[in-house]
């Protein structure tokens, strides 16, 4: 079954420890990091939903939210 579209990429800043793994290994440079190491989602439209950031995050602080699946045709 094909993935539904990405709705949002949520970063839990309370849990994030700013290790930089997500921004370094993201194949599409979705993230941006400021001088303090705080990561933000700068280019969500570039995301290909590979989930690497979500799965590699040692702080379990990134979550990809998907659009609900389209209703099946009647």
């Amino acid at each position: 079954m094909a993935r539904t579209a990405i709705k949002d990429i949520v970063i839990n800043q309370e849990w994030c420890k700013r290790c930089g793994i997500c921004s370094t290994f993201c194949p599409k440079d979705v993230f941006e990091t400021d001088a303090e190491g705080t990561v933000t989602v700068a280019h969500p439209e570039a995301c290909i939903a590979c989930e690497l950031c979500e799965r590699m995050c040692p702080d379990l602080a990134i979550h990809l939210e998907y659009e609900p699946p389209a209703e099946a045709p009647a």
């Binding site: 420890k17 793994i21 799965r55 590699m56 379990l60 602080a61």
Partner: protein, 278 residues
């Protein structure tokens, strides 16, 4: 999948591990594999020892037993023997599994008791401040090896295989999809399963041994390892092999004990099953 949070005791988050520590990634992958197997949380018991790795247990909303350094498998054996229907997960550090707990590790493997062990190998004692471990290897700087370590390392995969584990695999915190897949297979495997996960300790291992950054250590996992059976591995013998090393069926300990019970009861009833032992 169900949300990650539904498996966590979120009130203890953020966790205690250092920024960039690979153990969180293992926790992440483990939750995904538990979800993939489709287990009910009431059927899951996690037993851990002491060390950074052992803290995984506290964050998971399972039945959790945080025990003594090196002894997790012995506690877990008691749980499993009493309730063979439960799924037992045992995260262990390299020191926990292979130094102080080495004897329990090989004997649990020998029995082929249905327990899944995850060896979080960061090649250092992190919680106590960076002493060398049985997987550090020669030439490593540690707080107890100021002139560099002269100790030969254990290979957890070889040790587990030789001791009789019936599922043995290795991956890293870089290879997160493989991590989930291997943990899923390990949990499903009926017998003693060991998954060694090379995990980074930027604080105590990396800093003293030429890796300034977490991401550098992860790149090292990417470049320094290769899949079992790959051409790359055949050509570059110094690469660390990843993948499944052992996957075989052998009688599981609790199943065999169920037969012991049957034999004992048959003997007591005087029926078929033979004579009372002398």
């Amino acid at each position: 999948m169900k949300s990650i949070d539904s498996y966590l005791r979120t009130r203890f988050m953020p966790h205690i591990w250092c920024p960039g520590c690979g153990h969180g990634t293992v926790l992440n992958g483990l939750i995904r594999s538990v979800d993939a197997v489709g287990l009910n949380k009431n059927e899951l018991v996690m037993v851990s020892g002491i060390g950074c790795s052992a803290r995984i247990a506290g964050y998971l909303d399972f039945h959790t037993l945080h025990t003594l350094h090196g002894r997790a498998l012995a506690f877990a054996t008691g749980v499993k023997m009493s309730r063979p229907d439960l799924t037992i997960l045992v995260p262990m550090g390299d020191g926990d599994a292979l130094a102080i707990g080495g004897n329990h590790f090989i004997h649990a493997a020998r029995r082929n008791i249905d327990i899944t062990v995850i060896v979080l190998n960061n090649r250092i004692y992190g919680m106590t401040g960076g002493q060398f471990s049985p997987t550090s290897g020669c030439g490593i700087q540690a707080t107890t090896a100021p002139y560099s370590s002269i100790d030969q390392p254990f290979d957890a995969v070889q040790l587990a295989s030789a001791a009789g584990a019936t599922f043995v695999a290795r991956t890293t915190t870089y290879h997160v999809n493989e991590l989930e897949q291997l943990l899923t297979r390990a949990i499903r495997h009926h017998g003693f399963s060991v998954v060694e996960v090379l995990s980074q300790c930027p604080t105590h291992f990396g800093r003293r041994n030429g890796h300034q950054e977490t991401v550098e250590m992860l790149r090292h996992f990417k470049e320094g390892t290769a899949k079992v059976g790959s051409r790359q591995l055949a050509e570059q013998v110094d690469l660390i092999p990843r993948g499944v090393f052992v996957d075989e069926e052998r009688p599981e300990y609790c199943d065999q004990y169920a037969e012991v019970i049957q034999r004992a009861q048959a003997a007591r009833a005087g029926g078929a099953g033979g004579e009372e032992p002398q």
